[in-house]
């Protein structure tokens, strides 16, 4: 087959990754197009396009260039797709809310006119995120950095600068925070209440806050710290500051701390600080074994368990009986489980639960004790994939924004006769896809009778823009089993494969 690659480079033209994704899809759908990409020409994006054979020989790009790259079956098809992309780019923008308002060109200009601004929400490409965060800190702003692919050195230096200035540096790779009811980045519409959350993980915070909210209690604030804050290199700088912030917050009685297992030295200093607190704590180090805690703290290795402790031992999804549901299902597959997760911490929680049930597990985001995919042999193991990991999100939006990241893997899993169960998560809320259930049900609609059982959990609340019960209904109508929490979805998966083995 004849393959033609054409590029168009727009100098000094910026679009955010969601707008680029929409346009990329439009161009990729043109007749005769094999592959297409619209990306900012950052060094990492240029490498992605070069590896995919999408950059013409000799095409030089810079980080502030917009690159349109088309690979097509003929010169005519490539040219037509490229022309359509250019027309779309040149179309006047619709007058959305952000367009109609004043749009300064820099943080400095914004703060000069609006000195009341106290927080910068930063989601630019990773290569530029640290520079923008530094500008925000220099102007006395707290920062929530949603961007990932930021170096550990930059993270440490930004957090040290923030601490010296008495400012909170949330992130990088901080997926969510809720400060005084303000949903920052991905967040759900949750009830206000007296439980605070400190989260080194975005979806972990979302799952715990939603379970608490749906159980009738509420959240005072949720502070995100970024996935690496409790690593030895960072030393828990933001976590320790968040503990201090909650200490002096009269709206908070109890705090839930959520993270993957920290470095032992960092865990020691964090737990020592919690021990000096006047408030009670739930410590959820996902995948850690029982640890020695101060008297004002209790431990949970799972998100559901953490929510239950914070609720004063109230059971979540008490009417859900995994064994009873499993016993009513027909058998299919050879007993394998595959998890395709948008939420990294939901993937980690799944590893904890499957491993505790005696399953052999492998993951691209392996917790301690689990085999790392692509590094160690994983034949015969359940595969739990975090689709939000850097390898899947470099140069494209997070699967919570663009669920199509999961589509190919899901289609393959549906035809895999080794599998008895496919585990899925849907994450609702602000920032997330408008209707992830609709997207998912279309992908699985034509699955065979003997396809593996599909089990989903829905992270969200009834008040979220997507509405939790409406999403659950759509999934159930498509024959997808929906559990009250991710943990219970995993328990059901285990019950099904154990049932199939009998």
């Amino acid at each position: 087959m004849n393959v033609v690659v054409l590029n168009e480079v727009r100098k000094g033209f910026y679009l955010d990754s969601v707008a680029l994704m929409r346009l990329s899809r439009e161009v990729a759908g043109s007749p005769g197009v094999i592959e297409a990409a619209l990306m900012m020409g950052t060094p990492s994006n240029a490498a992605i396009m070069r590896n995919a054979g999408l950059l013409e020989e000799g095409t030089a790009v810079k980080g502030n260039d917009l690159v349109i790259a088309v690979k097509a079956e003929s010169e005519t098809a490539a040219r037509e797709a490229l022309d359509n992309a250019i027309k779309s780019l040149d179309k006047p923008k619709t007058q959305g809310e952000a367009q109609s308002a004043w749009r300064p060109h820099s943080i400095a200009a914004a703060v000069k006119v609006r000195p009341e601004i106290n927080l910068a929400l930063i989601s630019v490409p990773g290569e530029f995120a640290a520079s923008e965060a530094r500008k925000a800190l220099n102007r006395g702003l707290h920062v929530l950095m949603f961007s990932d692919n930021v170096s550990l050195e930059d993270e440490l230096s930004l957090k040290q600068q923030a601490r010296a200035a008495g400012l909170l540096m949330m992130g990088p790779d901080c997926g969510t925070a809720v400060i005084g009811g303000a949903p920052l980045a991905f967040a759900n519409k949750i009830r206000r209440g007296r439980i605070g959350i400190i989260g080194a993980s975005g979806t972990g915070t979302q799952e715990v806050s939603c379970l608490i909210s749906e159980a009738g209690a509420g959240i005072s604030h949720a502070i995100g710290v970024g996935g690496r804050d409790l690593k030895k290199d960072i030393g828990g700088i933001t976590t320790l500051m968040a503990i201090d912030a909650f200490e002096s917050d009269p709206e908070t009685d109890h705090v839930v701390l959520i993270s993957k297992p920290p470095h032992p030295d960092v865990a020691k200093s964090v737990l020592e600080r919690i021990g000096r607190s006047r408030k009670s704590y739930t410590v959820c180090f996902i995948g850690a074994s029982e640890i020695e805690l101060p008297p004002n703290a209790r431990f949970s290795p799972t998100l559901k368990g953490a929510a239950e402790l914070a609720l004063g031992d109230k059971k979540i999804g008490a009417g859900f009986d995994a064994n009873a549901v499993a016993s009513r299902l027909p058998r299919s597959g050879r007993g394998g489980i595959e998890g395709l997760f948008a939420g990294g911490t939901l993937c980690a929680e799944a590893q904890v639960i499957l491993a505790a049930a005696g399953r052999k597990v492998a993951s691209n985001a392996a917790i301690p004790g689990v085999v790392k995919l692509g590094v160690e042999p994983n034949a015969g193991r359940d595969r739990l994939i975090d689709l939000g990991d850097d390898e899947y999100t470099r140069g494209r939006p997070h699967p919570m924004i663009d669920p199509s990241v999961r589509d190919d893997a899901l289609r393959a899993a549906l035809k895999n006769r080794d599998l008895s169960v496919v585990l899925l998560d849907l994450v609702l809320g602000y920032g997330a896809h408008a209707d992830p259930a609709e997207h998912l049900t279309k992908i699985v609609a034509d699955r065979g009778q003997d396809a593996p059982a599909l089990i989903a959990s829905v992270v969200g609340t009834e008040q979220d823009p997507q509405g939790r019960s409406a999403q659950v209904r759509k999934l159930e109508q498509a024959g997808i089993l929906v559990a009250p929490s991710n943990a219970q979805a995993c328990e059901l998966a285990v019950a099904i494969v154990q049932n199939a083995g009998r």
């Binding site: 955010d16 952000a98 929400l121 490409p125 920052l184 602000y430």
Partner: protein
């Protein structure tokens, strides 16, 4: 200690949040829907799109 004496990060939880958004435009609508004041920056990569130069300029306070 009065609220004013505390470091800024301890005051954040008691204050109204007002946001400058730099990056994904979709976050602006979500914040406004929740009654939060937000200014969206019409951002472009600085320093001609050279990340290292941009980092240097930010460190220099430019």
């Amino acid at each position: 200690m009065t609220d004013q004496d505390r470091p800024q990060y301890q005051q954040l939880l008691a204050r109204k949040v007002e946001v400058v958004n730099v990056g994904l435009e979709g976050f602006v609508k979500d914040l406004r829907d929740c009654g939060i004041d937000v200014v969206h920056v019409d951002w472009k990569p600085s320093a001609g799109g050279d990340p290292q130069m941009a980092a240097l300029l930010a460190k220099l306070g430019v």
